[in-house]
Symmetry: C2
Subunit: 109 residues, 2 copies
DNA sequence: TTATAATATGAACAAATAAACATATGTTAA
DNA sequence: TTAACATATGTTTATTTGTTCATATTATAA
């Protein structure tokens, strides 16, 4: 990393992280960490509408975080590269380390 | 990383990445990669209003990405832990590798 | 072809939020 | 104290965006 990023780099970086900044997309990405999944599978897993999942998958695909493969009537999605895994892991580490006592405020049970 | 994250983890992760999902905050974080800076310094560097920078610093501090230290009339901000650096680096790597030809659409010059 | 299943997409709505502006708080010096 | 500087914060506005609903597209089977 340079000492001061350019406007373009800041824009590109924020656009990337913005994709990770939604709980639905995080859950979709996490679900695909070990398995290739079709839209219906994901909708069932997350208990969300097909439409909403499809919209989010489109965003994930446009951002190159996810790739798709059609097999008959179904379209299977999977992570596009290992950076997705790395970024998720880094975020998870940060959360685990520094915010153990503070996440409780977001939990009910 | 687990195979399917919980609602709580997805929420916490997305909240974290949401902070990185704004170009102004990215620029602020990048500016602090090597130097401790006060609000006015940052506002001058980024050519933004003091108010806007202060608002963003508050968000960064609340999220534990930044810490502050008062010295006289000035308050100096610096990165709170090394995960910030790691996450930025991961994002930068992803951008450099996969989107070389596509970022041009976001650029004018 | 028609029917059905899986996915994609367009439009509308509501919620979140970044920036601007004005103002308040805090610190130092006179 | 008052004045000046640095920072914080409350409010408003404009923009963005995730979801829902309805509809369109694509693929298979009868």
């Amino acid at each position: 990393m340079k000492e001061a990023c350019t406007m373009e780099e800041a824009g590109a970086l924020s656009e990337l992280f913005k994709i990770f900044g939604d709980p639905t997309r995080i859950r979709i990405l996490c679900a695909m960490l070990d398995a290739e999944l079709c839209v219906n599978d994901i909708a069932g897993l997350l208990q969300m509408s097909q439409s909403s999942v499809s919209h989010q998958l489109r965003i994930l695909k446009t951002s190159k975080l996810v790739k798709s493969r059609r097999d008959g009537k179904s379209v299977f999605y999977s992570l596009d590269d290992e950076h997705v895994h790395s970024i998720l892991s880094m975020g998870m580490e940060h959360i685990m380390e520094g915010e153990q006592g503070e996440n409780d405020k977001n939990l009910q049970n």
